[in-house]
């Protein structure tokens, strides 16, 4: 029978995805970039929308929220999963509102106008069933998927606006976005890249080999030499794992030191981050204890090996995303366009 089969098929897929997320985080499975994670999450959500049983928008949102909670619990440090879920929830709300007939402009005025007049939570319960809701939502999710596929190219297209000839650019670790960005600029301009290797996993080595194969003059330095070399650097271009709501970053270990050194020499720090990395979290104080990898432990010694760093927004000069460049002080506004405030807590 089609019904149960579809359901079991769906649950199987969800379980497989959760399993992958779990493995990917502990380093045992294949390391995947956040773009792939985002795409897979969105594809899975589309499948849920298509195959799960729901009658009204509220039901669908409930299902997605539940699945979303499980997914984020499987791998708390992979924030793109949560981001995609919130995007889809916002899509559902929008489609519902459009089906109901209220104009989109009224919705956008909500934030300032309704704050003064109503002051309360909107009493939408999303219970009204609409026939056209399902295909609309699926179409909107498809648009989201196309947007996701084009993010790296959109960012790379802006490279020539920011890199001039004979520059010395510094970067840290390995970011596919930055790699594409630099390779795109290298087609027309000649510049020099210094890569900090980012111990102990030394992803910087891969980045350097990849860049040098594209013909870019690359130098690998150790993390300890970042400040020593910074005086000769013109720009620092980095990728990040997450962009936080206040404009700060949660990036790979060593980025905070790099940002401080850049600030000291007044070197601009440019962050290449696609929009799906924007997360409504703010920095929690117990942030960094979420994700550790313990190295060789001698019996009497504590060893710490944090994987991520928090970088405050004052140290960042510019964000380059697939929709253009922004200052860190503008991030909160972008966030209100992508996510609905009620979805910030899943």
């Amino acid at each position: 029978m089609p019904g149960p089969d579809k359901e079991t098929d769906l649950t199987e897929r969800i379980e497989a995805f959760l399993f992958d997320l779990n493995r990917g985080g502990s380093g045992a499975g294949p390391l995947r970039g956040s773009a792939e994670t985002a795409r897979e999450t969105t594809a899975l959500l589309r499948r849920i929308t298509a195959q799960a049983r729901w009658s009204s928008a509220g039901d669908l949102m409930e299902i997605i929220r539940n699945e979303g909670r499980r997914m984020t619990a499987a791998q708390p440090s992979e924030t793109t999963v949560g981001n995609m879920i919130r995007r889809v929830l916002k899509i559902i709300r929008e489609e519902y509102a459009r089906s109901r007939g209220s104009s989109e402009e009224a919705d956008q005025q909500e934030s300032l106008h309704k704050l003064l007049t109503s002051g309360g939570v909107s009493d939408e319960n999303f219970r009204q069933p609409f026939a056209a809701l399902k295909p609309n939502v699926i179409e909107a999710i498809n648009e989201l998927l196309t947007e996701l596929e084009g993010t790296t190219d959109n960012i790379a297209m802006q490279a020539l606006e920011h890199i001039h000839s004979n520059e010395v650019i510094m970067t840290i670790g390995r970011s596919r976005t930055v790699e594409a960005f630099l390779k795109d600029a290298a087609r027309k301009r000649k510049f020099h890249v210094i890569v900090a290797e980012c111990a102990p996993f030394c992803q910087g080595h891969e980045m350097a080999t990849s860049l040098s194969k594209a013909g870019i003059e690359t130098t690998v330095i150790t993390d300890a030499a970042i400040f020593a070399v910074m005086s000769r650097v013109n720009k620092v271009i980095i990728g990040t794992q997450t962009v936080l709501a206040n404009g700060g970053l949660r990036a790979v270990n060593g980025t905070h030191t790099l940002a401080l050194a850049a600030k000291h020499h007044s070197t601009p720090l440019i962050v290449c981050a696609p929009m799906f990395k924007l997360s409504p979290q703010v920095r929690r104080l117990s942030f960094l204890s979420d994700f550790y990898r313990y190295c060789e432990i001698l019996s009497k010694v504590n060893v710490h090996c944090p994987v991520f760093d928090y970088v405050p927004p004052e140290l960042i000069t510019l964000f380059i995303s697939n929709i253009g460049g922004h200052a860190p002080s503008y991030i909160y506004r972008l966030m209100s366009e992508l996510y609905h405030p009620e979805d910030h807590e899943l």
Partner: protein, 540 residues
Amino acid sequence: TDVIIESSVGYFTEGPERKDDIVKAKQEGKELTKEEKQRLRKEKKQQKKSKEKKDDKPSRDSEKEKKPASAASPAPQTPTQPPAQKAPSAAPAPVPVPASETPSAADKPAKSKAELKAERRARQEAERASKGKKGDVGPQAAPGKPKAPPSELQPVVKRLPEHVQVDNPEVLKKLAKKLERQQIPLRSDYGYKVSLFSHLHQYSRKAPLTQQLGIPSTVIHPAIVRLGLQYSQGIVAGSNARSVALLHAFKQVIRDYTTPPNEELSRDLVNRLKPYISFLNQCRPLSASMGNAIKYIKKEISNIPSQCKEEEAKRKLLNCIDCYINEKIVLAAKAIAKYSIEKISDGDVILVYGCSSLVNHILCEAFEKNRKFRVIVVDSRPRLEGREALRRLVQKGINCTYVLISAVSYILPEVSKVFLGAHALLANGYVMSRVGTSQIALVAKAFNVPVLVCCETYKFCERVQTDSFVSNELDDPDDLIVTRTGTTQLEHWQEVPSLGLLNLVYDVTPPDFVDLVITDLGMIPCTSVPVVLRVKNVDQ
């Protein structure tokens, strides 16, 4: 002669008047004062020199153009000058500033006494220099005429050392010739050098200099060969360890030394040491502390009176070296530990970087005095010296934590103090230390954690430097290849044309990041380093 001006040209123009005085004095039978005698001597020298200078003035000019860096210094001794001219030109060298002729002539009478004193000192320096330091690779105080106002400071303008002029082929040729004369093999550079550092050497650890020496080596003492190998392979590392090892090796050399007939010990021994120093320099560039130790030894040797018997002289020298080690390193460490323990309070969390013998000593002493604290050891690739420090501290029973340098901004909120060691303290207050030290100081400053640097006074150096590029050491680039998980991404980096690996050894920390420097003379701010240097110079 119109371009080459000396401040003593004033003497020439006033010559006739002074000469009259002197002649008058002679005729009157008065004894010439010391100053007047000197003036006479000076004038004779000037006359001789002006004839020489007319000949090589055109060549001197063209060399000056080639070396804009040394034009800034008032006494350019361009390295391409043949060494034979060094002794005579060591006394007043020309100052290439044309405009100063009239003012110098005008205030000649006011300056003369102070200028005389300075000239006398300059000549003494020159004589000492020509005696002991001919052909020395290290920075040399080129005695130049002070055009400066009558201050008591000597003109200390150093000739640029060879190891930061690798991109100059003439300097390399000169070095090769010198090494050939001393029968020491020349070490060749290895691997692709990053363009920013093309002026420095980059050697490979797999090709030590000793492979090119014959056995037994007749020129170099075996203790020195062993020491050179230990340096180049990194077996002896750390500036205190290297200096002590050097001094012990020299003690062995002195014990085995016999004065050849018709030679004086004070001169011959110094000449014997020169090829050893070149050899060690080729194995690994000398550190500031080693340079100071060598200067001290050479001074002691040349001060041995000629009537001293060989056995007694050797005994004296060995005693001097022992005293030096005891005073400058062992006792200094005790004094510094005493001062530092005042700064460590109970409940402190202290951050240290890498393996500094002095900082380890301080922490062990503080622990023995029952201070309650815990230590965070920060380490960095590729040397991973922090593991050695960790081992030493854990053996003593100190509570330790270990992180890599990229985690410093994560762990700093817990830290109450940062203790750093130094390789050298420069005269402008910058601290030269292992690469990564400046980074730690920067992050500590951002978190408002006090930074204390511990350094003995024998590491103080008269050089000035503002960034980590102009003078540094490049270690073997292949060290960066091996990574922790065994993956070697960069194994074939030499085959990729646009890929370079950079393995810096030192960096300089600006004085605004450092809150306090603890030395054996007390606790001083970073900016007082030139004061200490001056006090030391006056003592000597």
